[in-house]
Symmetry: C2
Subunit: 245 residues, 2 copies
DNA sequence: AGTCATTGCGAACACTGTACCCAGTCGTGT
DNA sequence: ACACGACTGGGTACAGTGTTCGCAATGACT
């Protein structure tokens, strides 16, 4: 007779008795996503969210068991609204468009790089997206195990790249400084690193990065890396899918 | 005349005047790493760390400007103690051993998957490691730009995989439940997902995962994926490095 | 020997997530 | 038609957080 040990996706949104809730899970998740995008996930507070929704802080716990559960709701909401991938022509373009959608989604919602990792909380939208991605790899003569590996490899690469790209942006935001002030603070130390002469290759990277460069250099690096990964994945297929024997 | 806008790596560990500090940055970082490994980074508190070190909570702020800066210290300490990679025979084995070291390090210090991402805080150990990895790719006729891409690609893949692997472990830990209780809580919902028939491929993945499987299945998946990535990277080299023309 | 920058740190501040309790609401069973 | 009682909203409270302030004690420099 344990109380209510049930995962949120199996809990009814509305009770059979008593007054109707004044909010929906969708409304709450949407507002929370908006706030997290604007201020960062760690600056999202239950009180702030409640105020934004025009309710008391404690009321949120009528909809959600904990902040972690709220984040599960947010993650699944984003999977529903920002991961509407369409089927690709072949496995390669399919995985490519999955990776690009994933990257675009993470750039819009940076906290998703961590919160959306793994298949821990299989909300309906998360499950549907996963199913759709797998479907693009079905019928190629690849076992479910290897299909999973292919998806996970693309996912890992994309998430990892996003993690690196976001790292700086996030560190700057957390410092409270703006971009220029942050650069000015780092400059003396970085200069010292370069001038010490102990890090010749790192120095080349730094100097290269300081040069006026392609604004979407990161995007280019991602695309190139992705193609390399896809090249590698091709070797998991039994044989050429085009041209019968 | 701003106060002390200097990055921690450029601040002297000891002041020229006044009493000697009773702690060192190394001691603090080491203790913090130990606590974060045991309880998770988000359960690491300044008060808890101070108590562990036998000092007052406010004293830590004589060594570190903020908790974020403490984490920078921790990250660099780990880079020094757990990323002592040795040079490989060729670029491929070099990147492979880097990836494996990175993976092992993250499994030992799960919080490093996020905190160690990007080259934001270039502490001495982080810089040295980075330099060492790049050195293994020098002299192959690849430009610094592409060398960086190669490292970032391996890093992204490894970090991304680690992120996925850690995701579940972390969600379980945060829930406060043990592994069995957590599985028991998820079971009814997952069963419903499968029985709904709407996710045939996802269901195959779930059923496959439930079967008694290789304990180091994740390790195997990582190794295979890594080789695929390395295969892809080979195409960035000008030509075969073995056998002169 | 004296100056005074520096250290350690108790206390306090503005927060946080969340448990508890009570008043008010409304679907349901009689 | 009515009353029961499960339910919702939410004020208050609690234990905890990162961080600041002020002050006494220390000890390296002039």
């Amino acid at each position: 007779m344990t109380s209510v040990p049930e995962v949120i996706w199996n809990r009814p949104a509305r009770a059979s008795r008593g007054p109707a809730p004044s909010l929906t899970r969708q409304e709450i998740a949407a507002a929370a996503v908006r706030l997290a995008d604007a201020e960062g996930l760690e600056d999202l507070s239950m009180r702030g969210l409640a105020a934004d929704l025009g309710v008391g802080a404690a009321s949120l716990y009528r909809y959600v068991e904990s902040k972690d559960e709220l984040i599960e709701l947010m993650a699944d909401a984003v999977m529903g609204s920002d991961m509407r991938i369409r089927a690709g022509r072949d496995w390669r373009s399919h995985l490519r468009s999955y990776a690009r959608a994933l990257r675009a989604m993470i750039q819009k919602h940076p906290w998703m790089v961590v919160e959306g990792a793994g298949r821990t909380s299989l909300g309906p939208n998360t499950a549907a997206t996963f199913e759709r991605v797998l479907r693009g790899l079905d019928g190629l003569g690849v076992g479910i195990d290897d299909m999973l590996t292919m998806v996970e490899t693309v996912d890992a690469f994309t998430r990892g790249r996003a993690l690196e790209e976001i790292g700086d942006r996030d560190a700057i935001r957390r410092s409270g400084l703006d971009n220029d002030a942050w650069m000015r603070q780092q400059a003396p130390y970085v200069r010292e690193l370069v001038e010490s002469g102990r890090y010749p290759l790192l120095s080349r990277v730094i100097i290269d990065a300081e040069a006026p460069h392609d604004p979407d250099r990161l995007e280019t690096a991602f695309r190139r890396g992705l193609e390399l990964v896809l090249d590698g994945l091709a070797s998991m297929l039994p044989e050429r899918p085009n041209r019968a024997s």
